[in-house]
Symmetry: C2
Subunit: 355 residues, 2 copies
DNA sequence: TCGAAAAATGTTTACGCAAACATTGCGTGA
DNA sequence: TCACGCAATGTTTGCGTAAACATTTTTCGA
C-alpha cells in the first residue's frame, strides 16, 4: 500500500538572493513610448503592429536587455511549455539515450524538459513522490521512464488531469505507452540463432521487476516453444556487466551442460559473460555463440564484436514527445500501446553451431 | 563573430488544450471557510496557524486536489527553484553520468533540472541560442556542460545577471568552473606506466576542441617531459570506439614502431584500440599495455579488463550544484576553479614492460 | 471629399500567489 | 478589572503578462 503524499506542504526555502529585478514590458514600453500591450504584441510576433513601431520597440528591448518573464507568461496563459520527465536513473545506457532522444524532440517542438529523478529505488512510493514534486513544478505533461515491470493503477497514482506517456512499461490501461519492440527483437535474435543451427540456447535475463527484461525473456521462451525446443538454462542478472560475468563463470564451471548459444538480455551482461567465457577458455563464437540486446556504441568493439539488437532510442524519444503533445491536446487520455521497430545487427560473436 | 540573438521574438504557439482550470487557493479557502492568505500560510508551512484551522485547510486541499501553481508562486517570489543545464549531448558516458549527479544533487537541494540541449554542433552560436532559450525559461541559474575547449568571453555571451557554473571547461575568468582533476588523472596513469618500466608511451587523444582531451594530452606530454623521455606517437581520435579501432589498426600496421604502452584519453577509444590489437595478433598486455580514462561500468569487463582513471561524476554533480547555489546567493560572480579528485584503477590491461 | 471599414494602438482586467499591513480575539499581570 | 501584548486571521496590493474590449488613426472606394 502506498502512502498518501501531502499536497504542497513542503516549505519552500526563501530565495537567498535579493532578487535582481529584471526588465519588464512596462520598462520597454516607457522607453519606446508605447503601451505595454504593444510591447507584448511585438514580443509575441503579432501581425498588426506598424513596422516603425515594431522597430522602436525592438530597439528598446535590446537597449534594456528585455527578457520575457516566463512565470508571468505561464501564469497568464496557463501553460508552461515544459515537459516533465520522471527517470529512475540515468546510469544505464538505454535510459540516457532515451533521454537524449526526448531532449532533442522536445526542443524541436519548442518545449523544454524538466528532470525529476526518482530517489532511492523505484518503489511506487518514491515514484509517487516524484510525481507530486513534478505536479507542483511547471510542466504541461509528463513522460515516465522508470523501467518498471508493473505500473499498476492502484500503486502509482497519476493525477487524472495530467497528460502522461509511459515508456518501457505497459501495465496500465489508462494511459498511452510506448516502447521499443522488445518482443520482435528477442524473436529476431532467436531466429538468427536457429538459422545458425543452434537448438540449446540459454538466456541471461534481466531483473524480474524490469518490464523489458520480462519481454525479452518471454521472447526467448516463446521462440523455443514455437519450435518445440527444450529451453536451456535461464539465469537472472541485474543488467550489470558484473552479473553477466558471475553467470558466465557459473555456466563455464559445468562444460558438459554448456549450451551452444546464449542470449543475454542486454549488451552489458553479454560483455561480462564473454569475459567469463574467455577466462575459462571457452571460445566465442566457435564453442558458444553470444548475442546481446541494445547495441551500445561499445558493442561493435567488444571482443568479439557483439551480435545484438539495435534500438532506435531517438525514434523512441520522438514518438514519446509526439504522443504526449497529442495527449495534451485532448480532454481525455487515449490509452494505447505503440511500438518502435528494432533491428538485428549481426557481428562476430555468433557463428554456426558445431554440434 | 557570433550573431545577435533577438530578444524574445519567437512566437509562442498557443496552447492547444482548453486549459483544464485547476483548483486555486481561493477555492480551497472558500471550502475551508478561511481566507486565501491562510491557505497560503498552510501551504507554505507557516508556524502561526492554529492546529484546527490547519487541519480544516488540509482537508479542503485534499478534497479538492489542490496543487500550488508554480507559475504564480514564481512570479510572486521572483525565483523558480529550477536549475538550467546546457548540455551538448547525452550520448557520451561522462556527460550522462554527470547529469545524473546533477539531478541527484539538485533534487536533494529542492531544485528541479531544466534541460536545454544544444542543437547541432556546439558552436558558440548554438550555445548562445541555448542560452537565450534558457534565459526565457524559468531557471534561477545555469550549469553549462558542453565539453568545449574554449568558452571565450567574447564568443559565448553569458547574461551578467545569470548565476552560472561551468563544467569541463576552464577558459573563462568571469565565472566559477568545476572539473574532474584531469591533470592528476593523466599523471597517475603515466606514473603507473613508468613504474611498470614503460618508456615508449603513445597517446590516443580526444578531439582538439574538447577541454578534457587537451588536459589529458598535456598530462601525458608533461609526464614524459618531466622524465626526460621522448614522446612516442600521438594520434587524435573523436572519443568513439571506432576511432580507437582505426588508430589501433594504423599503429599495429607498423610493428617496429609499436610503443610498449598506450594511454587512451577515454575508455571507449581504449576498447576500440584493444580490438584492433587483438585482430592484429598484438597481445595486451604482454606486448602492449593499454590504459584508459573514465572507468565506465563496462571497463572492468573488457578483454582484458582495463586499467583506467575513475572519475567521481556524482561528486562533480554535487559540487557543481553547491557552487551554483552559492553563486545564486551572492550579488556578483565569484570566479574560480575547483577540481574533483580522481582515482587510478589498475586492472589487467597494463603489465610490466618486456623490453 | 467624405465616410465606412480596417488597421494600429491604448486601457482595463485577471491569472494565482504571498508580502505587507490591518484587524480580531485571547490570555496575562498589575 | 482593564490594558497590554501577541498569536491568529483577514484585506489589500502588485508581481509581469496577454486577452478582451475601447479608442484612435489610416486607408480606400464612391
Amino acid at each position: 500500500m502506498s502512502s498518501v503524499v501531502e499536497p504542497g506542504i513542503v516549505p519552500v526555502r526563501p530565495t537567498p538572493v535579493a532578487a535582481r529585478r529584471s526588465v519588464s514590458m512596462g520598462d520597454v514600453a516607457r522607453l519606446a513610448g508605447v503601451s505595454a500591450q504593444t510591447v507584448s504584441r511585438v514580443a509575441n510576433g503579432a501581425a498588426n503592429v506598424d513596422a516603425a513601431t515594431r522597430e522602436k520597440v525592438l530597439n528598446a528591448m535590446r537597449e534594456l536587455g528585455y527578457r520575457p518573464n516566463s512565470a508571468a507568461r505561464s501564469l497568464k496563459r496557463g501553460a508552461f511549455h515544459s515537459i516533465g520527465v520522471i527517470v529512475f536513473a540515468l546510469s544505464t545506457y538505454g535510459s540516457s539515450r532515451t533521454l537524449d532522444g526526448l531532449a532533442q524532440a522536445a526542443s524541436a517542438a519548442g518545449y523544454s524538459l524538466t528532470l525529476m529523478p526518482v530517489e532511492g529505488s523505484n518503489t511506487p512510493d518514491n515514484v509517487n513522490r516524484a510525481f507530486a514534486a513534478l505536479a507542483e513544478q511547471a510542466v504541461d505533461g509528463v513522460i515516465i521512464e522508470i523501467e518498471a515491470h508493473r505500473m499498476d493503477e492502484v500503486e502509482i497514482v497519476i493525477p487524472e488531469w495530467m497528460p502522461v506517456v509511459v515508456i518501457a512499461s505497459r501495465e496500465r490501461s489508462d494511459r498511452p505507452a510506448i516502447d521499443a519492440d522488445q518482443a520482435t527483437g528477442a524473436r529476431l535474435v532467436m531466429e538468427h540463432l536457429f538459422e545458425l543451427g543452434h537448438t540449446r540456447i540459454a538466456h541471461v535475463a534481466g531483473p524480474a521487476d524490469a518490464y523489458s527484461a520480462i519481454q525479452r525473456e518471454l521472447g526467448w521462451h516463446g521462440a523455443l516453444e514455437a519450435r518445440g525446443l527444450e529451453p536451456a538454462q535461464m539465469v537472472r542478472g541485474d543488467w550489470t556487466p558484473e552479473s553477466g560475468y558471475e553467470i558466465g563463470c557459473r555456466l563455464a564451471a559445468r562444460p558438459d551442460e554448456l549450451p551452444t548459444a546464449i542470449f543475454a538480455a542486454n549488451d552489458q551482461m553479454a560483455l561480462g559473460l564473454m569475459r567469463a567465457l574467455h577466462e575459462h577458455g571457452v571460445d566465442v563464437p566457435s564453442r558458444v555463440s553470444v548475442a546481446g540486446f541494445d547495441d551500445m556504441p561499445e558493442s561493435a568493439n567488444f571482443w568479439p564484436p557483439l551480435t545484438t539488437i539495435r534500438q532506435d532510442f531517438t525514434g523512441l524519444g520522438v514518438r514519446s514527445v509526439a504522443t504526449l503533445l497529442d495527449e495534451m491536446s485532448r480532454p481525455h487520455p487515449r490509452p494505447g500501446f505503440e511500438v518502435v521497430p528494432v533491428e538485428l545487427v549481426v557481428r562476430a560473436s555468433t557463428a554456426r553451431a558445431l554440434f
